[in-house]
């Protein structure tokens, strides 16, 4: 079973439908007490600070830390992956969920911002989330903030736009993807299938 956290997010519907398409039984949870076991997906919403505030209003922050400590597998998508980090330049005063150390930064001028469209994955560590996926496969990105590629242990795949940044992170049971697997056609579906199969 997959529980999808609803905190007034943007593209919740597509994430739900992608999991249904794959034969999983996604379930939307709007408060911690809706949770009935299984994996958790945190989809993306607009701003880092707004996302954290919305999560807190619904008492999700403590809940997520608790289930994470119990070993529940969690996947953050796009902005939902960014809030797994400590802080963001987008909302400097707001602390993130801090599963991963590093700060989310704004793309510097020079390239087009947002980084929008299909870009290639550069796999740097083999990972169960990347079963049947090869370096060079395209996935769909739409974001203005990124986590720099710093060769830290949790960085699984990178991507490049103006500079190198992390596309996939994983530490134990916590996973984050900067792109939108639910909009990344076959490659994206394979990654979601891999998450279901973990």
């Amino acid at each position: 079973m997959i529980s999808i956290v609803d905190y007034e997010g943007g593209n919740l519907f597509s994430v739900v439908k992608a999991f249904e398409f794959l034969g999983a039984e996604p379930r939307i949870i709007t408060q911690p007490k809706d949770y009935d076991g299984g994996k958790i997906v945190i989809p993306g919403v607009g701003e880092f600070g707004d996302a954290m505030r919305a999560l807190n209003e619904r008492h999700f922050q403590d809940f997520i830390h608790k289930v994470a400590a119990d070993g529940v597998k969690i996947l953050g998508v796009c902005a939902g992956a960014q809030i797994l980090f400590e802080r963001s330049e987008e909302s400097a005063a707001v602390a993130g969920l801090s599963f991963f150390e590093n700060k989310v930064r704004r793309f510097s001028p020079g390239g087009k911002i947002p980084h929008m469209g299909w870009n290639t994955l550069e796999i740097c560590r083999r990972n169960a989330l990347l079963k049947s996926i090869k370096s060079g496969e395209y996935v769909y990105f739409a974001h203005s903030f990124y986590v720099p590629a710093d060769d830290l242990d949790f960085e699984i795949a990178h991507c490049e736009h103006t500079n190198r940044f992390t596309a996939i992170v994983n530490d134990r049971n916590i996973f984050g993807v900067q792109f939108h697997p639910e909009k990344s056609q076959k490659t994206g579906m394979q990654i979601l299938r891999n998450f279901i199969d973990l």
Binding site: S14, G46, G117, W118, Y138, S144, K186, M189
Partner: protein, 253 residues
């Protein structure tokens, strides 16, 4: 490396496609899901649905259409036409659209751009500009190209980006329908003077036009409608030529 995007545009009204792919064995050519699936299989990087009724009467029908497409297609898509409020945007985004395109509403009420960007992020807000050459510059048109807004198109593009537009969809009214190439001067000016991705629209006729739009026009994505619908050119053909010319493009897995 970030790939250039090829985007077919589908006109819809009452939740049905009225300008979509022709001459093939679709069971129901008006079905947006079938149309989307066709272009998905052909290698489209993204889709644009333009509601030509552009009134709020049919909003529920449009929302339902967006839902049906998002249920079946795992490809990003933009919805435009008659979207006038943050609430309209929210409804469509929550139903599975990735981006909302606004044109007349943005000219009449520029704060809609900033409000949309604040609520959903810039990456969800596309500002569409219909531009028509006027002496040495370009004028902005609204209401489906019927009314001049008396605003310089390049200045408007810059302002829209300042307000939070995450992408610009630039249609040259002079080139639209001519199949004689994009207005690459207009595209290059806008691409150089703003920081967001630019989608070229209006004038596609040959593969070379697509190449010119990204090389000379510096566009990040290229949109076409009739050319694809009437099978004058396929997305596959364009992508092959892009590869030959060393232009980064996604060949579907």
């Amino acid at each position: 490396m970030l790939a250039k995007r090829i985007i077919p545009c589908l006109d819809v009204t009452g939740g049905r496609v009225v300008k979509g792919v022709n001459f093939i064995d679709l069971i129901d050519a008006g079905d947006p899901v079938e149309q989307a699936q066709f272009y998905d299989e052909e290698g489209a990087d993204e889709l644009v649905f333009l509601d030509i009724t552009a009134s709020s009467d049919g909003r529920e029908i449009l929302v339902d259409m967006v839902r049906r497409v998002a249920e079946r297609i795992h490809l990003p898509f933009t919805v435009g036409g008659g979207i006038r409020s943050v609430e309209d945007m929210r409804q469509l985004l929550r139903s599975g659209a990735d981006k909302i395109s606004i044109n007349t509403a943005a000219v009449e009420n520029p704060t809609l751009i900033s409000a949309g960007a604040k609520a959903f992020g810039s990456q969800c807000v596309v500002v569409a500009i219909d531009a028509k050459r006027k002496d040495k510059s370009w004028d902005t048109y609204t209401h489906g190209g019927r009314r001049s807004a008396d605003m310089d198109a390049i200045e408007w593009a810059k302002k829209a980006v300042e307000l939070g537009a995450g992408e610009l969809l630039i249609t040259s009214m002079d080139c639209d329908g001519t199949q004689s190439g994009f207005d690459n001067n207009l595209l290059a000016r806008i691409s150089e003077e703003t920081s967001v991705p630019v989608i070229a629209s209006g004038g596609a006729g040959t593969v070379q036009h697509f190449i010119d739009a990204v090389e000379t026009g510096k566009a990040d994505a290229v949109l076409a409608a009739s050319l694809f619908h009437f099978r004058k050119l396929t997305i596959e053909e364009i992508k092959k030529e892009f590869l030959k010319n060393g232009i980064p493009i996604r060949i579907p897995a």
